[in-house]
Symmetry: C2
Subunit: 321 residues, 2 copies
């Protein structure tokens, strides 16, 4: 029997996540239908992962499914939104049932953990690519925009920076692999990023601007600075590093933290009077939050180290270089 | 200068469609933010077009942009929804500015005509593929679902059937090309389908079930029959054919009308007492609507011709055959 588009979607992806908040019509009609609660706005983000560009061709299907959803959820986290619904456009060379089963497994582990329902999709034949769109809700007018940073704000990041970048360098053979436990840890940071949803939601009414770090702290913080027409100073000694990065040569570790992508931590700004509240959010959401610098009037991004101030150029991953 | 993701999206796709209904934050942040009006539900559909699968590799960029949006709008039409917002995930081998300009031109001609805003996107490097998600609004509980056909309903289709299929056959060299005017007409039916938005919206509270014909009348009507647990009889002599198909041998024309896809006409069912209203909708929306059969209790799809009744097997395009 031919596995057509409909049966692929039905067979592997038609799982109900209880209770399916606001889902009126899920997979199986021309459109899905959902209901946004009164007083809320809808936050929407779409991202594609292409084999050979965003992940190695032979990555584990489970990891691809997991990460493809996680990076979309991270966009919701960066707005402070609560994700509710996902759609999936999946292009694959042939209907490999084992691959699909593993992909769906990874996808739904992430979906269940975030309480997100898959409400629609499209399966097509072609070179392996995954496009996911995520839909979250936000109390009206509360979104954490890139353009809201104010001069004098503190600059914060969640978690630690550079682990995923180090993992990628070791996988690409540009740096030697670490001993097993450490290698496993950094690879899990690359393959199974944590979308900081609870932290993002808790930052509504507290943070000013927010972004998730997909291309590297320098490149992504620069998006906030550009949108807000301000600059920032970063204390390079304050960058939060895992014990593994602390074991590297210092300038290598700082460069990984500044310039490597795929960490999917949040970078946000908040007024000084919110410091205590932010500490409380860190405790309540069990998420390390580190103050790394401040927003300044001079446009540009500067690093402070040994009382010296140097301009930092974004070197985030640029498509089509 | 490297054309990165951001500048691609910014340069070609950041156009404001006045007045941008309900758009709070468009392209340029982690998520777009929109507002669904009170009393309405959100209808969502995602579709991918892959080069070499859904369109020939060297199709005109303008036509690809136009059709990619049109087929998504057609899903909205099939629910009776009013499309408001689109997102675009575009994967292309290299940042070809001429191609992008033409693609954007086709996309925005369709978007302007339907008053749809592009609110977000992602541009990635890889084999040419276009994924579009469309977002429409619907008065609560009014959607035209596939599962709502009732025994005794009339079955209708809009426009004419089989023109796009004939065009594809001639382009693939399976049938000889027609004289210029006719060939141009059928190719425009293939490349620039009309999403029947006004008709779909007018059918709320009038039609029962509705679907758009992407895989062929037989295959798509069968989706309604399966979801509604009913059958249908179609009068084969009543199938609406363009003058071009009327010029073909009769059984060839009927097979094209039944089994070729890409027409993006609507097929819907409605109770007999709505016949006059449907005629009025046809006149008001300047869209031919033809009654072609009826919903019956026996499951299955049957064709009536010369007082004979024969079972029709869906032969719509199936991925991965």
């Amino acid at each position: 029997m031919a596995l057509n588009e409909f049966s692929l979607i039905e067979k592997f992806f038609n799982r109900e996540i209880s209770p399916g908040h606001g889902v009126v019509q899920s997979i199986g009609d021309d459109c899905a239908i959902v209901e946004v609660p009164n007083g809320y706005q809808l936050a929407i983000s779409i991202d594609s992962l292409i084999a050979g560009v965003h992940f190695p061709e032979h990555s584990k299907a489970y990891d691809i499914g997991y990460k493809a959803l996680a990076v979309n959820l991270s966009d919701c986290a960066a707005m402070g939104a609560t994700p509710l619904w996902a759609t999936l456009a999946l292009t694959l060379p042939k209907p490999d049932e084992t691959w699909l089963k593993d992909f769906a497994e990874g996808f739904f582990v992430m979906a269940n953990s975030a309480q997100v329902s898959l409400i629609g999709g499209d399966t097509t034949q072609g070179p392996l690519a995954i496009t996911i769109q995520i839909h979250g809700i936000l109390p009206k007018g509360k979104a954490l925009l890139r353009s809201s940073a104010k001069i004098g704000d503190d600059v914060y990041v969640t978690g630690t920076l550079g682990d995923a970048g180090l993992a990628l360098q070791t996988i690409l053979g540009k740096l030697p692999k670490l001993e097993t436990d450490s290698q496993n840890y950094i690879e899990s940071r690359l393959n199974k990023p944590t979308a900081r949803l609870k932290t993002g939601q808790a930052l509504l009414d507290i943070a000013h601007a927010c972004i998730d770090i997909s291309d590297g702290l320098a490149a992504d913080l620069q998006h906030i600075l550009t949108a807000s027409k301000v600059g920032a100073e970063i204390e390079l000694d304050q960058l939060p590093l895992s014990s593994i990065l602390l074991g590297l040569e210092k300038s290598q570790a700082i460069n990984l933290a500044l310039h490597s992508g795929d960490d999917y931590e949040l970078c946000f700004t908040a007024p000084i009077e919110m410091r205590q509240k932010i500490e409380a959010i860190s405790n309540l959401s069990h998420t390390p939050i580190t103050k790394i610098g401040r927003i300044i009037e001079d446009t540009g991004l500067f690093g402070i180290a040994d009382k010296q101030r140097l301009a930092i150029k974004p070197k985030g991953y640029v498509h089509f270089t």
